[in-house]
């Protein structure tokens, strides 16, 4: 099988997106590189990016796993919740 970019994998999933519910909030000023590196490597949906010394986050494509919260709650991750009911990923296989 050919390698697929993460965007293309995520595009196979069904998501009910809600722009007004960023159920995860990050501290954009957070600067501990080692900590950021771990979260960037760990997020299975690559929601976190670290480019030119800046960390960015988008909740689109988030698989709601909780990894970033467990790794970095109170550090990079300011707050984490499940999305509102019915919002977010909708698995058909699981």
């Amino acid at each position: 099988m050919k390698r697929m970019a993460i965007e293309n994998k995520l595009a196979l999933n069904v998501f009910h997106t809600e722009d007004n519910d960023p159920h995860i909030e990050i501290d954009k000023e957070y600067a501990n590189e080692e900590e950021i590196r771990k979260v960037v490597l760990a997020c299975p949906a690559e929601c976190y990016k670290y480019i030119d010394g800046k960390v960015t986050f988008s909740h689109l494509g988030c698989l709601e796993c909780g990894t970033c919260r467990v790794l970095s709650h109170g550090k990079l991750v300011k707050s984490w919740n499940h999305p509102f009911g019915s919002v977010g990923v909708l698995y058909r296989q699981g």
Binding site: R69, G85, Q93
Partner: protein, 432 residues
């Protein structure tokens, strides 16, 4: 009973919550189950293998009607380096012979949805697509209901079946925030291949399947492993990586999945396949050590929310525990309902029931395991040594060292000192 008060409110429609609901509603209790996903299973991910024994007690013969994928008849365990896979394959007529000892590959979006139908039949009132935001308590701290989307609902007892990220048990102070060495992230793909192709490539008949676990290269030497389960016409393939060890290599979790799919022992099996879905979920790994407070006045915690999982490397068990804990919680509540007493004292019978069941028995039996699996040898040195040995053994090019025995000894000693080997054997024995 008042119209707006239920006997029991269950938060979460996974296996634990649905099972509890079925047992309670079958005995005539008024049960409300609230699930944040659009349907039960829409948020749920597992590796693949359900040991059927605990659901048999609730729905005897369930596999005849449930959407199971395949009956597991073959086991495979592998130690992998980038180039090599050293496998133990076990095929036996003794596997999965009767319902009580049978295991099945399952896909949760389909399986939980079927169980949701069973819960509805039993009389559970289901509300889906609503997130429970808070648990309500009275001034004495007794749980009296829930708050969901700004609506308050009341019950004599609340069951928290809200999974590994149980923010509600945390909010109540029953459970601490998870630590990175207590959980792993599992990322997986479901890849469609077709029933015939799977039968041929995995050497199985229709309806029968393989459970395959691999250590070493799937996590690039980090703690965790790879897994592959055959479904009816697809495979579930993925990687589980312990959070505290992420960063051990520079490879991201999504890339670990890609690498595993491209491993020489795996790639030919997936050729021509089409990915249907990509999913991720946390899995508890700290066994009995991470079990939180299980009961308080008016509340019980079940399944993944209660950390009821053992990850043994060669197999993961959480689903049969979730189902059993849901049933035992329901039975405790049935007694409490009879006595009209939902105090912590009354509900403590739930913990006692878990203690007397296979759930705590098995979790205690394997309590040495996290220490054993957290040993770098298993993930790095062992696969590398196995690779070295088999390569030497099976390569004939007219150039190899004739003194094979001495080579093998050297490899073994290079891997570990005798004292280390003894220590490892000791830990392994303790955990059995």
């Amino acid at each position: 009973m008042g119209e707006d008060k239920f006997d029991v409110i269950i938060v979460g429609g996974g296996l634990a919550g649905l099972t509890a609901g079925i047992v309670l509603a079958e005995q005539g209790l008024e049960v409300l189950l609230i699930e944040r996903g659009d349907y039960c299973g829409s948020k749920n991910v597992t590796g693949g293998r359900l040991y059927g024994h605990s659901l048999e007690k609730v729905i005897p013969g369930f596999a005849e009607e449930a959407p199971i994928e395949r009956v597991i008849k073959k086991e495979r365990i592998s130690l992998m380096t980038e180039d090599t896979s050293v496998d133990i394959g076990i095929t036996s007529k003794k596997f999965s012979t009767e319902p009580e000892n049978t295991s099945y590959s399952v896909l949760r979006a389909k399986f939980d949805r079927w169980l949701e139908g069973k819960a509805e039949e039993a009389g559970v009132m289901l509300v889906q697509g609503i997130r429970v935001d808070h648990v309500l308590t009275d001034e004495d701290g007794k749980v009296i209901g829930i708050d969901a989307a700004e609506e308050e609902m009341y019950a004599d007892c609340v069951i928290l079946a809200d999974g590994v990220n149980s923010l509600l048990a945390q909010e109540l102070g029953m459970k601490k925030e998870l630590e990175p060495d207590q959980v792993a992230v599992g990322a997986k793909e479901v890849i469609k291949l077709g029933e015939e192709v799977i039968n041929e490539r995995f050497g199985v008949q229709s309806g029968e399947g393989v459970a395959w676990m691999a250590a070493g290269d799937p996590t690039a030497g980090g703690f965790g492993g790879g897994f592959l389960y055959t479904n009816k016409d697809s495979v579930s393939i993925g990687v589980v990586a312990t959070l505290s060890d992420i960063g051990y290599s520079d490879i991201s979790v999504p890339n670990l999945v890609d690498r595993f799919k491209e491993h020489p022992a795996i790639a030919p099996l997936l050729e021509g396949g089409e990915t249907e879905e990509y999913a991720a979920h946390l899995v508890s790994e700290d066994g009995i050590y991470m079990v939180p407070e299980l009961y308080r006045d008016g509340v019980l915690v079940v399944g993944d929310a209660a950390g009821l999982v053992v990850n043994l490397g060669f197999t993961v068990r959480g689903m049969d525990f979730a189902i059993e804990s849901g049933r035992l919680a329901a039975e405790t509540i049935l007694k409490a309902h009879e006595m009209r007493d939902y105090s912590a004292k009354m509900l403590s019978a739930y913990e006692k029931a878990l203690e007397d069941s296979f759930v705590f028995r098995d979790m205690r039996a394997y309590k040495g395991f996290p220490a054993l699996t957290a040993n770098r040898m298993i993930y790095k040195n062992l696969p590398e040594t196995a690779d070295e040995i088999v390569t030497k053994l099976f390569t004939v090019d007219g150039k190899q060292d004739p003194d094979l025995v001495s080579f093998l000894l050297q490899s073994l000693l290079g891997m570990a000192s005798p004292a280390q080997l003894l220590g490892l054997a000791g830990t392994a024995l303790e955990s059995l």
